[in-house]
Amino acid sequence: MIATYGDLVGAAGVDIHTGLLRVMRRGFVDHKQAENTVGAYYDLLAALRSHTWWLIDPARARGEELARAMHRKPDDSDLDMVAARLFAGFGPLAQRPVWLPYPDPDFDHPWRDAADKIGAATDLLETHLGPHREPRSEQAALVLDPGQRRGALGFIAMLTSVTMSADSAIGAACRHRDIPWQTVMKWLPDRDATKVLVHRMGELAAKHGDGRGLRDITANLYPVREDDPIVELGDRMLRLRHAAWGLAAATPDYSVVTLHDLAGLGMATHLHTAIAHGLDVGAVAPSPHRLVATAQAFQELMIDLRDYLAPGLPDPDIRMDILAARELLMQIAPLHRPARPLTISDPTTRATLSALHGACEVMGQVARMNQATFATLARSEQIHVPTRLLDGDILSNDPTTAQAKLNGVRRVIAPPARVQQTLQHYEAIGAVTGHVALYQPAVAHAADYEHPALFRQAEFQGRP
């Protein structure tokens, strides 16, 4: 099981509740334990604060705060401002005033685990970004999207609210151990205003979606677990998607063969899934089934890509993953002999089909990334076509290439009309797999984020 962001913050929530219940049921055995627990409580608040500050943009919040300082009226409609004011209300948390205790290093409490898990959740999101917040993976666009980040604050507000409500339980437990009232008041001052802000923060965050956007984000690491074929297939597909994202960077590796290999895998995935469903793949095209139609689209693309000549060698890692994935598909859903009857409704069937459909989704996303890669390659004028493969419409619309062919030149830079044919194949795949977009930013945010290698039609006109 690879932990996702949602797993980590969810587990932190469980720990916070467990810690609260422990304080309520067992209380404290002595003064030392009370001190330690209060220390753990503040550690947890510090972790929640640094996580919140990572999700909002503190620099922006501070700037707006300064701009509004003259109005004197605090703004309750801006989530960033509310979150910043909320945690500012706690005063210093990392380097505390002398009367606030720290927990002993060997003190064991669920709140300390929760603080660790929230810190790990921050680190998990951080793996997708570089030091200057540049994207490092295909999920980075999601992590950078302000709407998704604010949506994720909803759950954090809930955790903060539960944590803050623990102060009455701690206070009650302190009374049982005869800790002086003045000390307790210093440890846990009255925070009613802050509690109102937490509530407001939860309300505002709920407006930004349900916070599910960041829930499924995994760490930017792609290990392959080889014990179970279904699990291994999923891992390999994710690794391929990350590799395909890497290929779509501004400087691709000038290899069309890799794109060809990936298209071949796209065909295999959809074909095997169709067979696992018992669809009739023997029918003459066009097939009414979407899976078969997609497999055919990938097949046409794969054969079309074969004609290009490019300087790059195939990427050995990607090819290895592709070969392994094809083997696994053969194992899970063989083409000719019935494997395990997939009509039985049991958890294995469910897992198999969901793995196969997940693989199909990933291939749809990979095809979209590959389209960007191919467009970048075509613009780089590094991919050639043998002139003997050009004829008809392409030559009649392109006098330069026609002249080259007549002069006996053996290869030319791929003419725009030829490139357009390939892009049409990619678009055909995009049309049949349109429902599986990895991430489509909201219209308002689309202007903020532009992929460096995104294919721009207007810029592409007239250039091979």
Partner: protein, 141 residues
């Protein structure tokens, strides 16, 4: 149509010498033909043929990476489109014939070459071509 294919294939077989150029030409014709056939057949057979075509093209790529001048000098023959009615055994027989001829040339080259690197290259290519040939032959049955 099988008829025009066999005619074209005969021409390729006749005009290719026993050298790397010859191997490349034969693999080119076979690979192109396999892809063309795979696009015209339903997906269950077509996908297998496409895999075989991928194998053949990979073998061809190996030749052209080891001998970069070969793709520029060798004859490249495309067997052309097949008619609407496909005689599967006849067309696959043409493809298998081309691959067999490539085998013959590879065997001769492997025996003639004293260089161990070149020998391992031709062994690798032979292995790929053989798997493609078996897949195609399997389909005709």
């Amino acid at each position: 149509m099988g008829y025009t294919w066999s005619k074209g294939a005969d021409a390729v077989l006749e005009h290719t010498a026993v050298d790397w150029d010859g191997v490349w030409s034969l693999l080119y014709a076979a690979g192109k033909g396999t892809f063309r056939l795979s696009l015209q057949l339903p997906l269950d057979v077509g996908a297998e043929l496409a895999y075989a075509g991928m194998d053949i093209c990979e073998a061809r790529d190996e030749v052209s990476w080891a001998h970069p001048e070969v793709p520029l000098t060798a004859i490249a023959v495309d067997l052309g489109p097949i008619g609407p009615v496909i005689d599967l055994p006849a067309t696959t027989a043409v493809l298998v014939g081309l691959l067999d001829a490539a085998f013959d040339r590879l065997t001769v080259l492997q025996d003639a070459d004293p260089d161990p690197d070149a020998r391992s290259l031709s062994r690798q290519i032979t292995w790929r071509v053989r798997s493609a040939r078996e897949a195609i032959q399997e389909l005709a049955r």
